[in-house]
Amino acid sequence: MSRFLFVVPPLAGHVNPTIGLAAALVGRGDQVAWCGPELHLRPLLGPAATIFPTGTRLHRPQSDHGLAAVRSVWDRFIVPFARFSLPAVEKAVAEWRPDVVVVDQHSPAGAIAAHRLGVPWATLAASTMELGEPLADLPKVHAWLHGRMRHLWDKAGMPADEFFDLRYSPHLVLACTTPAVTPALPVGILGVGPVLAPRHGQPEFPFDWFDQGKQHVLVSVGTLADDVSARFLNEMVTALAPLGDRLQGVFVAPPETLPDLPPHLVARTRVPMLALLPHVDLVVSHGGLNTVCESLAHGVPLVVAPIRHDQPINANGVVAAGAGVRAGFARADAGLLRAAVTEVLGDPGYRAAAAKVRESFAEAGGADAAAAALVDLTTRLPAAAGLSRSTS
């Protein structure tokens, strides 16, 4: 029996993979706990989860894109949150004494704490932003990113000569994707595919609304309160409006933001994604890794309209796999979007390619493979004697 502590940011897309991973570990008889802002984690993890709270800082919702978004995610979120949460993370590791700390790639406080306390740790990549160094062909941006990590390391009072890239554990790096959809996945990183598991507190959905004689489209572009998102959703409604004879569309959006929808379209603030996907023929997404991989894990092709972070990378991965097409989030109008939707729905090749990616996920092993690698780490690198768990 071993103990695994997940250090995660307060973002559903980063917490969700740890739920499936935790379930696989608990199924093997191991113990799990999380360290992060309880306010955000508790609704995702449910009342029974053990959470070591870090407290919560307010972070401005992002409306940037491109490199400006890369800068703001590091300067306004990753770095300040790591500095803010580091004492609580170190306290959790010292108190609970996990055998392995599983550190989200955007929670470098976990890496610093595990290194300082001498506890084996693994990196969990829930996005593709830091896989294959997409910024490497921007040398000064790449240097800036390393400077941000160096700043964190120095501010934590860590020895300068022990500095390393906090995004990668030297022991084990797990990624929630496979080369089938992320061709740049570096050798040495264990791509286990998406880690799916039943989620706590999922909303209802009126499944009998679906007309079995029609195709079903799910439009999920995140919950961004900016006018570019509103524009995209409205163009998408116009794109699907004349297609009521052949399809039904579900928009993940507050119903009041999309008034006067025709009867074959519906807007829901939240949907039970994993329960819906078996009924869906096409997902229109901004290309977050979770949504892309959850869709492909169900063999569902995509239209991807990327906005920021790893979304353009994931969009290109979907296109390269033949499992969908890419559309311009800020620019595509109703005509272009209708063409993209009818193209993917009309050509069975996209669905066949999505099924191939699904096979790669099944081979990669998902939660079970990730759990096995973590358990293996406990035997390869037993926790330092000074931190071995008390038997009391």
Binding site: G66, R71, V141, V228, R231, A330
Partner: protein, 87 residues
Amino acid sequence: MALFDEVAGILREVVGPCGGCPPEITPNATLEGDLRFDSIDLTRVGATLTARYGDRVDLAGHVRGLELDEITGFTVGQVVAYVEQRA
């Protein structure tokens, strides 16, 4: 200015028709922020500029070598100045 209009025409082609979204192509418009350029757009514009103005014009290479703030703040006017200098 003739060069500005030529470059603006190339940018307009990449930005393309859309649901009334991108602002006008003015000298002060930033590629990433105002025109919503991504790396693919930059590569396409760069290739078109190279084809028209010669191999010494490598916009994408030039921009990739800049600091983060210089990249996010890169304007249409700077594209024109770069082409003018290199062509």
